[in-house]
């Protein structure tokens, strides 16, 4: 079957989708967006977390056919998504991330290790600055979940952060640095940095 939906602000079309296929599979294997990770395939690990109509969900548990006409944001589009949010909408009328840009997306942080540029969302930059990335497998899911938390709750308590990230597993067990990163992003957000 064919599925039409919006990925990172741009309309996309997936063809020859098997009816039992997950949104995760469509994103990774048909759209070439491997940022959302495939691990447990049962909603336990959160590494496939994306926003579906703004809501964080495990993309491995959404049937591809269910996203027809709906709006998906993946980690590849997170920087643009966050920028658009900070500008309260799309000023130029040409926002979002094209499939090609999303496929080629690389972290470009403001430190020496990730190159020049400012094409990171605040939460991504905070993860780098706090040293919250170890093997990196859980990072995309955590970024999407953390970004949504800070959108909903700009000043979260530690308990709020733990609750919001309770569906994302990090098997390097770097949770303390991840907590640091979210606290850092929240502090920067409240200071308007």
């Amino acid at each position: 079957m064919r599925v039409n939906f919006t990925v990172n602000g741009r309309p996309q079309e997936a063809d020859d989708v098997w009816e039992g296929e997950s949104l995760l599979y469509v994103l990774r294997e048909r759209m070439g967006l491997p940022g959302s990770k495939n691990a447990c395939e049962q909603g336990e690990c959160g590494s496939c977390t994306v926003r579906l109509d703004g809501v964080p969900v495990c993309s491995c548990l959404v049937a591809a056919g269910q996203v027809e006409g709906r709006d998906v944001v993946t980690v590849e589009g997170l920087a643009d998504f966050a920028q658009q949010r900070s500008e309260s909408g799309c000023a130029t009328g040409a926002c979002g991330t094209s499939l090609q840009d999303a496929q080629q997306w690389r972290a470009k942080g403001t430190d020496s290790q990730t190159g020049e540029g400012t094409e990171l969302s605040p939460i991504q930059q905070a993860f780098i600055d706090a040293g919250a990335v170890q093997c990196g497998f859980c990072t995309p899911g955590l970024l999407v979940a953390s970004d949504e938390l800070l959108e909903r709750n700009p000043n979260p308590s530690d308990a709020d952060i733990r609750e919001a990230l309770s569906g994302n597993l990090c098997r390097c067990t770097g949770y303390e640095k991840i907590m640091d990163a979210v606290r850092l992003a929240a502090a920067r957000q409240s200071e308007g940095v």
Partner: protein, 297 residues
């Protein structure tokens, strides 16, 4: 496999009548796991996401009509006062990502003895609104809904449209045993609701019998003991011997098995502990409310 995408409830019922083997999918948090792991290859998937009123609820005089697909997140946010037991149970469901998708309709459809909503529904009192194109709507009392391990009273051509849950008329509690707070299938779970209006107590036990069950003998004992001691009127502390007897009868109301999550004897023990604790919590809350009301008068 065929993917059926009804745009309305009527279309969904027609599709289910035409293809009784169709598997309804809403949040997908049960169905997609089975498909991903190749445990299930349904001939038809019946997507209910496009039917908007399944995610709505209405608060009535006596009960809340909760759409089958209202996500657990919405229940926690919006129905804490009306359905405190179910809101507490919703908190214990998996993770935010899962609570954003899953709803009570899916819990009922899957009818796993470990489903988190069941003990809360049993304790509060509820009816499942099932509908078919051929025979229309019927309300199935929650006590008659669970018929076996992952079996329920639905007919092949029926879909769950909503669940009517009695609004709380007194304190309710919910307790669940697992290895951590998030992402846990209950080792066992317990729901308790005080119903001061009828001077009764209702229970719900999860994951400790082939189906979710009420501990009816324990309820009857406690109802009699509370009545006899005039507890509903005098608001005295529950006698420890009464609490213990209630807990023992709740344990006895279980029919658990040994499995990877826990042994039968552990489950029986834990249900007793949860029964005693939830009774204490709810009763203290009831006494506190009584004092407030008396103090104000």
């Amino acid at each position: 496999m065929d993917f059926l995408r009804p745009a309305s409830w009527e279309e969904a019922l027609a599709a289910k009548a035409e293809h009784p083997t169709a598997v309804p999918i809403a949040g997908g948090t049960d169905v997609m796991v089975e498909i991903n792991f190749d445990h299930r290859r349904p001939e038809y998937l019946l997507d209910l996401n496009r039917i908007g009123d399944l995610t709505e609820w209405e608060v009535g005089e006596e009960s809340v009509r909760l759409g089958a697909s209202v996500p657990y997140t919405r229940i926690m946010e919006n129905l804490r006062a009306e359905l405190p037991g179910l809101a507490l149970a919703s908190h214990t469901v998996a993770s935010p990502q899962i609570r954003n998708r899953g709803g009570v309709g899916g819990n009922l459809g899957t009818a796993s003895p470990a489903g988190d909503a069941h003990p809360a529904l049993l304790a509060a009192g509820a009816e499942v609104e099932a509908e078919s194109a051929a025979r229309g709507t019927r309300l199935i009392p929650i006590d008659e809904f669970y018929t076996g391990v992952k079996r329920n009273a639905l007919q092949p051509d029926e879909l769950i449209r909503a669940v009517h849950v009695k609004k709380a008329d007194g304190p309710q509690q919910y307790s669940k045993v697992g290895t951590r707070n998030a992402m846990v299938i209950a080792v066992c779970a317990f729901g308790l609701a005080l119903h001061p209006e009828t001077r009764t107590v209702r229970t719900g036990i999860g994951s400790a019998a082939p189906t979710p069950v009420r501990a009816k003998a324990a309820e009857e004992f406690l109802n009699a003991a509370l009545e006899e001691g005039g507890f509903w009127d005098n608001g005295k502390i529950i006698t420890p011997s009464v609490a213990k007897q209630f807990a023992d009868l709740c344990s006895a109301g279980c029919n658990p098995i040994d499995d990877v999550r826990g042994t039968a004897s552990y489950r029986r023990h834990a249900v007793g502990v949860m029964a005693r604790r939830t009774l204490t919590w709810t009763w203290e809350s009831y006494r506190g409310t009584r004092r407030t009301i008396e103090g104000a008068a």
